[in-house]
C-alpha cells in the first residue's frame, strides 16, 4: 500500500505544521492584520502630532500627552472579531481542528501585536531622546507606562493588544454561535457585574484603598494581572469555540 506508506511518512510533519500554517492563513487577510492596524497607528500618531504642533504654536509649552496610542489597541477588538468571523468557516474547509485554528489565530494576533508593540517602543524611545519631538508632546512615552523601562512598556502594550484581540474573538464566537440576543445579554451581564463592583467599592468607601493598590502594583504589576485575565479569557473563548459548528 503505497498510499499508506507515504501517508504515515509525511503525516507527523504535516500535522505539526498545521497550527503554524494557520498564521499564514490568517495573514491572507493582510488588511486585517497588517495594513489597517498600521494605518490606525500612523493616523493616530499624525493626528496627535498635529494637535501638539497647534498647541505648541499657541504657546502651550507644558508636557502634552494624549490617548491617541489607545486607538490601535481598540482596533485589536476588530482584528479579533474578523479573525473569527472571516476565517473560521474557511479553516473548517481546510480540515483544521478548532484547536489548531484557535492556537494559530492567537499566534497570528501575537505576531501582529508584537509588531505594533515594537513600533510603540521605538516611538517611545525617540520621544524620550528628543524630549517629545522637541515640543514636549508624547504619544507612546507615557511616564507611568515606562516606569519599568522600555521592555516593560512594550510588554504592557503587547498584553493589551492580546487582551483586546481575545475579547473581540470571544465576542464574535458567542455572536456566531448563539446570536445577537445572547451576546447582548452577556455584555449587559458584564456591565452589571462591573457596576456591582463599583457600587461595592463605593459603599465600602474603599476607593482610596483601590487607588493605593493600583499605585503599589505599578504598570508592570498590572500587566501581570492582565496576563492572568488574558489566560482566563482565552480559555473561555476556546471553550466556546470548541463545540462551534462551522
Amino acid at each position: 500500500m503505497t498510499t499508506l506508506e507515504s501517508g504515515s511518512a509525511t503525516r507527523p510533519a504535516v500535522l505539526r505544521n498545521r497550527t503554524r500554517n494557520v498564521v499564514r492563513l490568517q495573514f491572507v487577510n493582510t488588511q486585517t492584520f497588517l495594513w489597517v492596524p498600521a494605518l490606525v497607528l500612523g493616523g493616530a500618531w499624525v493626528l496627535t502630532m498635529l494637535i501638539y504642533w497647534i498647541l505648541q504654536n499657541a504657546g502651550v509649552t507644558g508636557v502634552k500627552t494624549g490617548g491617541g496610542s489607545q486607538a490601535p489597541l481598540w482596533y485589536f477588538l476588530v482584528v479579533g472579531i474578523q479573525a473569527m468571523t472571516m476565517t473560521f468557516p474557511f479553516s473548517q474547509a481546510m480540515s483544521l481542528t478548532r484547536r489548531e485554528f484557535y492556537v494559530g489565530s492567537l499566534a497570528a494576533a501575537a505576531v501582529s501585536g508584537l509588531g505594533m508593540s515594537l513600533v510603540f517602543v521605538l516611538l517611545g524611545l525617540v520621544e524620550r531622546a528628543t524630549e517629545g519631538y522637541g515640543m514636549n508632546g508624547y504619544f507612546a512615552y507615557l511616564d507611568w507606562l515606562w516606569e519599568g523601562g522600555p521592555l516593560a512598556a512594550g510588554l504592557t502594550y503587547f498584553v493589551l493588544t492580546m487582551l483586546f484581540f481575545i475579547v473581540g474573538f470571544w465576542s464574535a464566537t458567542i455572536y456566531k454561535r448563539y446570536g445577537t440576543a445572547v451576546l447582548t445579554t452577556v455584555l449587559i451581564g458584564i456591565g452589571l457585574a462591573l457596576v456591582g463592583v463599583v457600587a461595592l467599592v463605593t459603599w465600602q468607601q474603599a476607593w482610596p484603598a483601590v487607588g493605593q493598590w493600583v499605585l503599589d502594583t505599578g504598570s508592570l504589576g498590572l500587566t501581570l494581572w492582565a496576563i492572568a485575565v488574558c489566560v482566563l479569557l482565552a480559555a473561555g473563548s476556546y471553550l466556546t469555540l470548541r463545540r462551534m459548528p462551522a
Binding site: T3, G7, T10, R11, V14, L15, N17, R18, N21, R24, L25, V28, N29, T30, Q31, T32, Q82, M86, T87, P89, F90, Q92, A93, M94, S95, L96, T97, R98, R99, E100, R242, R243, P245, A246
Partner: protein, 306 residues
C-alpha cells in the same frame, strides 16, 4: 468490504427540526458514492458531522476507525467542499488554493494548475467578486486537487454551466481512476451523475431510505404502460410507487422485477415495459413523504393559493 466511515444511530436535532433520525450506514473505501435526496433531507448535516464541522446530538461516527471530532490525524485525510463555503474577505482564488496546498498532504499542484486553466478561474480576483460559477470552481478545484482519501462534494456545481460540469465529471473520473479514493457526491442532477457513481445512498426526511449499488438500484423498479385495467390486473399485489394515466392508458411504476414468463405475458397483452432511471426512481421514492412532515409545505402552498 473495507469501510472508511461507519455511522451508527446518528441523530441530529436542531431546535424544532429532526435533521437526522437514528441514521446508520457505512462508506466503503475507494468508492464513488452518490449521496442523494431532496433539499433539507439531511445531506449537508450528515456530511458536516462526518467531517466534524458539526456535532451529533447522539450516536457514533467513526472515520478511519476513529472519532473525527478535533482529530487532526483523521481530518487531514478528508476534504469537504461545501456549496455555500465562506472564504476570508480579502482572499483571492490564488490565496484559497495556496491555503489548501498548505493543509492537504496529498495536494497536487499540477492538477490544480490544469483545472484553473480549464475552468478559466481568475486567480487574482478576490473571491467576493467571483461569479457563482467561478466560486463553485474554486471549491471543485480544491476538492479534486486535495486528493483527500475521503472527499465530500456537496452540490459542487451551482452556477457551473454544462461544459464546466462535464469538465468536473471527466476530471473526477480520470483522477479517481489513477488515484482511487472515496468520493461522496451530493447532487440534485441525478441523471448527470448516475453513471459516475458506484453506490447510491438516498436520504429522505432524515432517514436513509436506500443504500445500494447503482446497478442494483437501477433494477429496483419497473415501469409498465398500457391499458389501465390490464395493467392494474397484471400488477395486482405489487408495491406501486407511482401511477399516472392518460385516458385509458396507465403508466405505473412498481418496486421489483418481472421474470421472463411475466414479461412475455405482459408483452402479449400489449403492455410495454420501460426501465426506470435512477432519477425517476429517487424522485418517486422521495416524493412519498409522511403527511406530518409535509404539513408545513402543504399549509404554505395553501396559503399562497388563497
Amino acid at each position: 468490504m473495507d469501510s472508511v466511515i461507519e455511522v451508527r444511530n446518528l441523530t441530529k436535532r436542531y431546535k424544532d427540526v429532526l435533521a437526522l433520525d437514528d441514521v446508520g450506514f457505512d462508506i466503503r473505501k475507494d468508492t464513488i458514492y452518490g449521496f442523494l435526496g431532496r433539499n433539507g433531507a439531511g445531506k449537508t448535516t450528515a456530511m458536516s458531522i462526518l467531517t466534524a464541522q458539526n456535532l451529533p446530538s447522539s450516536g457514533q461516527v467513526r472515520v478511519f476507525g476513529e472519532d473525527p471530532y478535533e482529530n487532526a490525524r483523521v481530518l487531514s485525510r478528508m476534504c469537504f467542499v461545501r456549496e455555500s463555503q465562506k472564504y476570508p474577505d480579502d482572499a483571492t482564488s490564488r490565496h484559497a488554493l495556496a491555503s489548501a496546498r498548505l493543509f492537504f498532504p496529498r495536494w497536487d499542484q499540477e492538477l490544480a494548475d490544469d483545472l484553473v486553466e480549464e475552468f478559466q478561474l481568475p486567480l487574482k480576483r478576490t473571491i467576493k467578486k467571483l461569479s457563482r460559477g467561478q466560486l463553485s470552481a474554486v471549491g471543485v478545484i480544491i476538492g479534486l486537487a486535495s486528493r483527500a482519501e475521503i472527499t465530500f462534494f456537496d452540490e459542487p456545481y451551482l452556477g457551473l454551466d454544462a461544459v464546466a460540469r462535464q469538465i468536473f465529471y471527466d476530471r473526477l473520473l480520470t483522477d479517481y481512476a489513477e488515484h482511487p479514493r472515496t468520493v461522496v457526491l451530493s447532487s440534485h442532477l441525478i441523471d448527470e451523475v448516475s453513471n459516475l457513481i458506484e453506490r447510491v445512498l438516498v436520504i429522505d426526511g432524515g432517514r436513509i431510505i436506500m443504500d445500494e449499488s447503482t446497478e442494483d438500484a437501477r433494477a429496483l423498479a419497473t415501469n409498465v404502460v398500457g391499458d389501465a385495467a390490464t395493467v392494474e390486473r397484471a400488477l395486482h399485489g405489487r408495491e406501486v410507487i407511482h401511477r399516472e394515466s392518460l385516458g385509458r392508458v396507465a403508466s405505473v411504476t412498481f418496486l421489483g422485477r418481472l421474470d421472463a414468463a411475466e414479461r412475455d405475458a405482459l408483452a402479449s397483452a400489449g403492455i410495454d415495459l420501460a426501465p426506470v432511471s435512477l432519477q425517476q426512481l429517487i424522485v418517486r421514492l422521495t416524493q412519498q413523504r409522511t403527511p406530518g412532515r409535509d404539513a408545513f409545505a402543504a399549509a404554505a402552498q395553501e396559503g399562497s393559493l388563497r
